[in-house]
Structures are given as C-alpha cells and as structure tokens.
C-alpha cells in the first residue's frame, strides 16, 4: 500500500472514531453514565463489605472491566447494529475504507466513547493508590493489549450474529462471564488456584494490575504466563477478526 493509501486509512479510522465515538459522547451522555455504573456499582459493594483494601481491588477490576466492556464487548452490539439494522457496513463496502480500518475505526470509536469513564477510574485510582508515573509505562501497554484483544474478539463474535438483539444480549453475557465471574474485582488468590485468572483477558489484566500496583501475592510464573497469554489472545483474536471482517458475504 502506498503512503497516500496508508494516510487515507489512518484518516478514515480517526474520522470514524470522531463520527461514531466522540459525537456519541457529546450527544448521548446518558449511555456513558449507564456504562460506567456497572463496574462502579461492584466497587461500591466491595467497599461497603471489604473496606478500603477491597475498594482498591474493586477499582483496578473496574478499570480493567471498563476497558474491555466499554471498549470491547460493546463492539459486538454496535458492529451487529451497523451491519444488520442500519446496513451501514454495506454502504462502507464501496469506499476506500478496508475491512481492517473499519474494525479499528469501530474499536477506536468505542474507546473514545469509553474515555470519560476510564478517566473517572484513573482519577479515583490515582487519588487512593498514588501510583508513581513510571508504573504507567507498564499499565498503559497492558490495558492497550486488553483493549485490542477484547475489541477483536467482540468484532469476531458480532459477525456471527444474525439479529441485532442477540448482539446486545451477548455483550451482557460476555461482560458477566469474562468480566465479573473470574477474579477481576477480587484477588485470584482467594480461589483454589490463582491460575484461574488466565481464563479471561479481563482477569489477566486485573491480576497483573493487582500484582504491580497493590503488590498482591501472586507467583511470578502466573504474571509471566498472564502476559504471554494476553499477547497470544491479542494476536489470535486479531487474526480471527481480520478473517471475519472480509467484506464479501456468502449469505
């Protein structure tokens, strides 16, 4: 692809994020508040029953969940909505936007939409845990990997939907199965084996954040393995999404 072609794709991804992410933030703020409330409500309950110590676990879990949920799992419903309900994807097939840029644009718009919520979590975490700036050099790439993995998984799953209602439902089910049930809001060492955290990219990230910020007592092997599994999931989900995001349909 020529430099001009790459610039067209980059420009399109940014415009997509503005169009479907930023405009939604400023015109649909109620959704934003609603999407924030899920992880926040868990943090509130954990704080009531566990005190400040567990509030910290809850906030880190909330951050990990907000990245996956607002940035990733909602893509299932939105991608299915744009494809099935609005036929917007069909219109974009006949443009210069390629399937990869479409997927990235959609993922970036979800992240843009989630940014105010993420900012709330980061501010709360900073106020309570006072994280040194240098740790963000580790935290941000970990969260970025989680965002890419969740977005690509979400997009892949959206291509299997033939009714937009299933897309919204699946977002909620995945949020529970991958973001609430595994050790996301609570420490994995409470389970018979902390390695259960490896079942979900959200609990992987939460476990790593607990280890580096709260100095939670996890075996080093678990942390190493967590990073490897997260990297592998990101690559696999991205390949799956790119295969599924081909424009041509057989149905």
């Amino acid at each position: 692809m020529s430099l001009q072609g790459i610039w067209t794709q980059v420009k399109s991804v940014i415009v997509f994020a503005w169009f479907y992410g930023w405009l939604a933030v400023i015109r649909e703020p109620f959704w934003l508040v609603s999407s924030l409330l899920n992880p926040l409500s868990i943090v509130v309950i954990m704080t009531i029953f566990g005190g400040v110590r567990y509030m910290s676990f809850g906030l880190l879990g909330g951050l990990a969940m907000a990245v996956s949920s607002s940035g990733g799992f909602t893509i299932i419903g939105d991608a299915a909505y744009l494809r099935l309900e609005l036929k917007y994807q069909s219109m974009l097939i006949n443009t210069r936007l390629n399937p990869i840029s479409y997927t990235l644009g959609l993922a970036l718009s979800e992240l843009t939409y989630a940014l105010p919520g993420l900012a709330v979590f980061i501010i709360l975490i900073q106020l309570i845990m006072r994280i040194p700036a240098s740790l963000y050099l580790i935290i941000i790439p970990i969260l970025a990997l989680e965002w890419v993995a969740a977005s690509m998984l979400g997009f892949t799953l959206s291509t299997l939907m033939n009714d937009v209602r299933y897309g919204w439902s699946l977002s909620g089910i995945l949020g529970f199965l991958l973001g609430t049930l595994p050790p996301v809001f609570y420490p994995a060492y409470l389970l018979p084996t902390p390695y259960i955290a490896l079942v979900s990219p959200v609990s992987i990230v939460s476990t790593v954040l607990q280890y580096i910020i709260l100095k939670a007592n996890y075996p080093q092997e678990l942390i190493k393995l967590s990073v490897i599994v997260l990297l592998a999931e990101t690559v696999i989900f991205t390949i799956l999404a790119l295969r599924k995001s081909r424009w041509r349909s057989i149905y």
């Binding site: 609005l86 069909s90 974009l92």
Partner: protein, 335 residues
C-alpha cells in the same frame, strides 16, 4: 463560492479518471458485464438464476419485479457484497469476483432499508462518508455541501437525524451517493416510504446523476421507472423475465388498452390475452370498441370493468404472468 465548487468538481472529475487507472474509458463503454450470475443459499432454491446483464456507461437502469424476485440479491452481487454461486462479473473493466477491492472505491451503493446513524447530522453523515471514500477534508466539505443543497437538505444540515422526518433521513442517504461522484451508483428502493414531494426531490437528484454516473435502481414504483430509466429489467422468481426501454417493453405486450375486470368468477375473455391478478383480471385489447364489448359482457353477469390505456405496470404484470401460477392465464405473448 460557486466558482470554488465548480473547480472542486473539475478536480474531482479528473481524480475519478485517475482512479480508473489512468485509462480514458469509452464514455459509451460497458460498465457492467455479467454472465450466468446465480445465487443459491441452500443448494436447492435459487434466489437468482442465470442472469446475464450488460449495462452501458451513463445510463439509468431500473430493476422491476415483485418482492422476492431477486432484485436485491442481484444488486448485492453487483456491489461485490455477496458472492455469487455461479457466473462471471466484469465491472468497470475489472473482474469483480477476483478483484473486488479494485471495483469497490469506484462504486457507491445505498442498500434497501439502509438507515442513517441516529445521533449524527446530515452534514456529518455525508462528510464522513466522503472521507471514507478517499476525499480530502476540504473536498469532502465542499461536496457534502453541494449534495445537501441539491437535495434540499442544507437547511437541516445541523439537525440530528433522530429529529428529522423519514423523508429527510432517506434523502440524506441519497445525498451520500450523490456526493460520492462514483462512476457507478446502486440504489435499492431509494424512495420507499417517501411522500410525493420527497420522492420527486430524489428523482431530480437521480436525474442529475444521469450521464455522469451509471445508476442501477430498484423500485416498486412503476412511474419512477418510467420517469428515470433508460432501460428497465423485469425480474421474477430469480429470473430476468424481460428487458428494454420503456417503449420497447410497452410494445412487447399486445394491445393498446387494458380492461380491469372484477366481480366475476370465471374468465369470459375468449380470444383475448389476459392475466389474473388476485381477485381481478387484466384483459389486453387493441381497440376501445373491444374494451366496451368486454365491459358490457361483464356487466351482464354482475361484474365491473375499468378501461384505460396500457401502462408499464400492465406490461410488468403481463410479463410476470399475474399473481397465481395455478390459475391459467390467456395466451402469453411471445416476447
């Protein structure tokens, strides 16, 4: 401002030629050449069967036919969205089945039942679409303005879609295709659900596209096909039943007049060509005397008859053969 817009249009025209690979294509050349296109989803029932199609540059071609005729399947294949089960397809000189990515940026399509995103404005919708098509930011702004003005949407450019009527929403989608300056534009039922005023505004826009772009239109409105089309393709049950200009199609069915008869239980039109349409018959006759004769015969057995000149709608019904396949029709015209 108009000079500015004109120079943008000139530059876009030049850009379009470059996008076509630097080849100065014959303005009367063939834009779509399809052979034996077919589509089956389950290997048994065919949504589209053996469709051959050849469309010349700059023409408006309308696909007409009842629901389930295969129009949308054909359009989805031609826009490279759907993979056909059989056939060959050359679009704008490119093999659209092997290299769809070379064709896609040069065409624009508004699918059936497409809806705009509800929280954006018409201007944002068209502008972003043009950026996705590869326009620069400044060209996208200029062309979005031009298209919105042409479709009477400039006054509502900053209103959120959710607050606009169905007619405005539909016209905003048409504005996307209009602004695209694409060589080939597909519009699948662009005026469905529009009031008569909005529909005519879309017709005007489509008429302006004519000549510069080739337009493939599907519609249920026969008068739309008559008003806009250089050629009409009639489809039914996945087959291309007939094709031609409006006057050619009119001449394919015998008779100058049509008598629409209802309220009788059996056809009494010996020697005339007719079809059954639900609970009424359409009888095709050559003279007004024949019309009067049929009307009086019907009246004797308690039926009613309406007489009129034959229209394209009567031709479509005749060529498709009415609504009920189990009901015998009169002698079918060879066409």
């Amino acid at each position: 401002m108009s000079n500015q817009v004109n120079s943008v249009k000139y530059l876009l025209g030049a850009k379009r030629l470059l996008m076509a690979g630097g080849v100065s294509l014959d303005p009367h050349g063939i834009v779509i050449n399809a052979e034996g296109l077919g589509k089956t989803y389950d290997g048994v029932k065919w949504a589209l069967r053996n469709a051959d199609l050849s469309v010349n540059r700059g023409k408006v071609v309308t696909l007409l036919g009842p629901n389930g005729a295969g129009k949308t399947t054909l359009v989805r294949i031609l826009t490279t969205e759907l993979e056909p089960s059989t056939g060959k397809l050359i679009i704008l000189g490119e093999d659209a089945l092997r290299n769809p990515e070379r064709v896609r940026p040069r065409i624009a399509s508004i699918p059936q039942e497409a809806k705009p995103i509800y929280f954006v404005t018409p201007y944002e919708l068209v502008f972003s679409y043009l950026v996705f098509r590869g326009f620069s930011i400044s060209d996208a702004k200029a062309e979005a303005r031009r298209a919105l003005e042409e479709l009477g949407l400039w006054g509502v450019r900053n209103k959120i879609m959710n607050n606009l009527s169905g007619g405005y929403k539909r016209r905003a989608l048409v504005a996307m295709a209009l602004a695209s300056n694409a060589e080939l534009v597909f519009m699948d039922e662009p005026t469905t659900g529009l009031d008569v005023f909005s529909r005519r505004s879309v017709w005007d826009a489509l008429a302006r596209l004519k000549g510069n772009s080739t337009v493939i239109l599907t519609t249920h409105y026969i008068e739309e096909a008559e008003f806009l089309s250089d050629e009409v393709i009639i489809m039914n049950n996945g087959l291309v039943v007939s094709r031609g200009t409006v006057s050619e199609l009119l001449s394919k069915v015998n008779g100058e007049y049509v008598v629409e008869v209802y309220g009788i239980s059996k056809p009494i039109f010996e020697g005339y060509s007719y079809v059954k349409l639900n609970n009424r018959y359409l009888v095709y006759v050559d003279t007004s005397e024949d019309s009067s004769l049929i009307a009086s015969e019907c009246a004797k057995i308690g039926g009613k008859a309406l007489m009129r000149r034959k229209t394209l709608e009567d031709v479509v019904i005749r060529l498709i053969g009415g609504w009920y396949s189990d009901e015998p029709t009169g002698d079918l015209d060879s066409s």
